[in-house]
C-alpha cells in the first residue's frame, strides 16, 4: 500500500539511476550508516524466520535443520498457552486503548477550561512525570503500593476495616493493575497530543457559539469533541494496528518473573522470551512470526481505513 504511493516513477533508464546516484553521491552516502543499522537489525533477521518452519538445532544451523512445516504453529494453537497469551495481549491492549483515549481527552479538555496559567503549567508538568520513568521504576512504585505488609493499598483497606490482601500472590488483580498503570504512565503524554490538536481549532467558532449563548459545556460537547474526532481516529487506528504487540517492559517491569503472577498477565512478547529458554528457538520464532503477520495485516487494514476517513492521508 505504501509502496504504490512512495515508489518513485519507475522505468527511468539504468543509466539514469547511476547518474542520479553519482550526482547526489554525498546525500546517498549520508544515508548509508543509518541504513546499515536497519539492515543489520531489521532486514538480516528476516532470514531467521525460516527457523519457524524447522526443528532448529545449533549443529545443523538455520537452513540445515529438519523442515517440519507448520508443526510449531500447530503446537502453539493447540496448547492452552497459545490462546491464553493471545487473549491476554488483546484484553490488556483493548482496555489500554479505550481508557488511553477517554482519559487523556478528558484531561486535555479540562486543562483547556482552566484559566490560571501557573496552575496549568504546574499540573501539566506533574502529569507528565510518569512518562519520564522506566517500567522498572513503575514496578518499584507498584510494589510500594501493593506490598502485603507495608503497602499503601492494604493500609487503606485496614482503615476501612477490611482484611489485607496478599496482592503478590493473587493473580486475578493484575490485569487491572497493569492496565491502570499503563493509563497512569501515558495519560499526561497523550493529553499533549490532543492539546496540540485543540490549539489548531478555529477560535472564531467558539466566539460564534458564545454569541449564540452556548455555555462551556455545550461548547465542549458540540465543538471540541466533534473536532477531535479525526485525531482520535488516527490514534485509535495506530493502536489497533499494534494490538497484537504487548509491552514487554511493562509486563516484566511490573511483575518481574514472579511465577505466581506471570501466567495471568503474560503477553505474546513475554511468552516468546520465556519459551526461548524452555521450548526452543523454532517454537518461539513461530510465535513471533504469528505476531508479526497479524500485526502486518492489521496495520495494513488500519492504514487503508485511515486513508478513507482522512482524505487519502495514511498513518505513516
Amino acid at each position: 500500500m505504501i509502496a504504490a504511493r512512495e515508489m518513485p516513477e519507475t522505468k527511468k533508464s539504468r543509466q539514469g539511476a547511476l547518474h542520479e546516484l553519482k550526482r547526489h553521491k554525498i546525500l546517498y552516502l549520508m544515508c548509508i550508516p543509518g541504513l546499515i543499522i536497519l539492515i543489520m537489525f531489521c532486514y538480516v533477521p528476516f532470514a531467521g524466520i525460516w527457523m519457524a518452519f524447522t526443528d532448529f538445532n545449533v549443529v545443523d544451523g538455520i537452513f540445515g535443520s529438519k523442515f517440519v512445516g507448520l508443526d510449531n504453529f500447530k503446537y502453539f494453537f493447540t496448547s492452552s498457552m497459545g490462546w491464553k497469551v493471545t487473549y491476554n495481549t488483546l484484553v490488556i491492549n483493548f482496555f489500554g486503548i479505550v481508557l488511553g483515549i477517554i482519559f487523556p481527552i478528558t484531561i486535555a479538555i479540562l486543562l483547556n477550561e482552566i484559566r490560571g496559567k501557573a496552575f496549568k503549567k504546574l499540573t501539566q508538568s506533574m502529569m507528565f512525570f510518569p512518562y519520564f520513568i522506566s517500567w522498572v521504576v513503575v514496578g518499584a512504585i507498584i510494589y510500594g503500593i501493593f506490598s502485603t505488609d507495608v503497602g499503601v493499598a492494604n493500609g487503606i483497606l485496614a482503615w476501612f476495616g477490611i482484611e489485607p490482601i496478599r496482592w503478590y500472590s493473587e493473580p486475578k488483580y493484575w490485569k487491572e493493575i497493569i492496565i491502570l498503570a499503563n493509563v497512569w504512565k501515558w495519560s499526561g503524554y497523550n493529553s499533549i497530543i490532543y492539546l496540540a490538536a485543540m490549539s489548531n481549532f478555529d477560535g472564531s467558532l467558539y466566539e460564534a457559539a458564545k454569541v449564540d449563548g452556548a455555555n462551556r459545556l455545550q461548547q465542549i460537547m458540540r465543538l471540541t469533541v466533534p473536532m477531535l474526532k479525526p485525531t482520535v481516529i488516527v490514534l485509535t487506528l495506530l493502536s489497533v494496528g499494534r494490538i497484537f504487540y504487548g509491552d514487554f517492559g511493562m509486563i516484566y517491569g511490573i511483575v518481574g518473573n514472579n511465577p505466581v503472577l506471570i501466567d495471568e498477565v503474560t503477553v505474546i512478547d513475554t511468552y516468546v522470551y520465556q519459551s526461548m529458554r524452555t521450548l526452543g528457538f523454532s517454537y518461539s520464532t513461530a510465535i513471533g512470526l504469528f505476531q508479526s503477520v497479524m500485526g502486518l495485516i492489521l496495520i495494513t487494514l488500519a492504514n487503508s481505513v485511515a486513508k478513507k476517513v482522512n482524505d487519502g492521508e495514511g498513518l505513516f
Binding site: 512512495e6 550508516p33 543509518g34 531467521g48 507528565f128 512525570f129 522506566s134 512504585i141 503497602g151 493500609g155
Partner: protein, 297 residues
C-alpha cells in the same frame, strides 16, 4: 437561561480544577512516597507501613547502600552515563544525516529510502531471529555495544527530524551550493545549526530512551560489571530475598534489621536521579517533539 448558563460554566470550571488537581497529585504521589520511604528508618516502615511523610527521618538507608554496594552502583552509573552519551550522540548523527538527505526534494530515491525505513515499523522478524543474529554474527553478548547499537536508529525520530529539516527554506541551501559547498557541508554548517531546538528535542528523547533502557541488558548482558542502572534496580526488585540475605555491614551486630524496604525505594531514587532534577527544565522540548509528531506535515 443566562444565569443558569453561568452556573453551569462555573460547575464545569470547578470540576476541571478538581479533576486536574487530583490526577496531577496522583501522578506525583508515588514519587513522594518513594522519596519519603527512602528517608525513613526501616523500623518505622515495618511498624506503620509506607507513608507520604518520612518517618523517623534518617539517612541510614543511603549510608547502608553506599557502604554495601557503592562500588556497584557507581559502576552502573558509569555504564549508564557512557551508554547514554555515546548512544545519544551517535543516534543524533545517524538519524539527522538520513533525515537531512531525504528532506532534499531533488533526491530522486528519497522515497525508496523512506520506504526501507517505514517497512521496519510495519513488519519485523521477531525477537528470536533478531537475537540470534545479534549474538552469533554481531557478537553483542556481554558487550557494551549491545546497549547502544541496536537502538541507535529510531525511524520515528528520523521522520520527526525530517519534518523539521523540510521547513528550512531551500534558498538557504542554494546560495551555499552556488558557492560550491557540497551537501555534507550544507548539512553540517547550515541545516544543523538552524535546527538546534529540533536536535535538542530528539536528542533528549534518545537520551531518555537510553537512560531508561534495561530490556537490552536483560537480553544481552550477564556480566554484572556491565549492568546499567535500571537493570541493576530490576535485579534488586526481582531478587528481594537475595538482598535481605546479603552481608551485614562490618561492625554491625546481628540483631540489626536489614533495611530491605527502604533500600528498594532508595535505589529507585538513585536510578531516577538526574531525571528528577532535569525533567522540570527539559519537558518543554518533549512537548514540542510530541506536538510536531502529532501534527503531520
Amino acid at each position: 437561561m443566562h444565569a443558569n448558563g453561568r452556573l453551569q460554566d462555573r460547575l464545569v470550571s470547578g470540576f476541571a480544577y478538581a479533576f486536574i488537581t487530583l490526577f496531577a497529585l496522583l501522578c506525583l504521589y508515588p514519587l513522594l512516597l518513594t522519596l519519603s520511604v527512602s528517608f525513613s528508618s526501616e523500623q518505622a516502615i515495618a511498624r506503620s507501613g509506607y507513608s507520604i511523610f518520612p518517618q523517623d527521618f534518617s539517612l541510614d538507608t543511603y549510608r547502608y547502600i553506599f557502604v554495601n554496594s557503592g562500588d556497584r552502583i557507581a559502576r552502573s552509573y558509569v555504564v549508564t552515563i557512557v551508554v547514554t552519551i555515546a548512544g545519544t550522540l551517535g543516534a543524533l548523527l545517524l538519524t539527522s544525516m538520513v533525515a537531512y538527505a531525504i528532506s532534499i526534494k531533488k533526491l530522486r530515491y528519497r522515497n525508496v529510502i523512506a520506504f526501507i525505513c517505514n517497512f521496519t515499523i510495519i513488519f519485523s522478524a521477531g525477537l528470536i531471529p533478531w537475537y540470534i543474529v545479534s549474538v552469533n554474527y554481531y557478537g553483542l553478548k556481554n558487550s557494551m555495544l549491545a546497549l547502544i547499537v541496536p537502538s541507535i536508529f529510531n525511524v520515528w525520530n528520523m521522520f520527526l527530524l525530517r519534518t523539521y529539516f523540510a521547513h528550512i527554506s531551500p534558498s538557504l541551501y542554494e546560495a551555499a551550493e552556488v558557492d560550491g559547498a557540497n551537501h555534507f557541508t550544507i548539512y553540517w554548517r547550515i541545516a544543523l545549526p538552524l535546527s538546534k531546538t529540533a536536535l535538542l528535542t530528539v536528542g533528549l528523547m534518545y537520551a531518555l530512551q537510553y537512560w531508561n533502557d534495561w530490556w537490552h541488558a536483560l537480553i544481552f548482558i550477564n556480566d554484572r560489571d556491565l549492568f546499567p542502572l535500571q537493570y541493576f534496580l530490576y535485579n534488586i526488585l526481582s531478587n528481594v530475598n537475595a538482598i535481605s540475605s546479603g552481608r551485614i555491614p562490618s561492625g554491625a551486630s546481628g540483631s540489626i534489621t536489614l533495611p530491605a524496604e527502604t533500600v528498594k525505594m532508595a535505589v529507585t531514587i538513585i536510578t531516577i536521579g538526574p531525571i528528577l532534577f532535569l525533567y522540570p527544565f527539559v519537558q518543554k522540548y518533549f512537548v514540542k517533539g510530541i506536538m510536531t509528531g502529532a501534527v503531520k506535515e
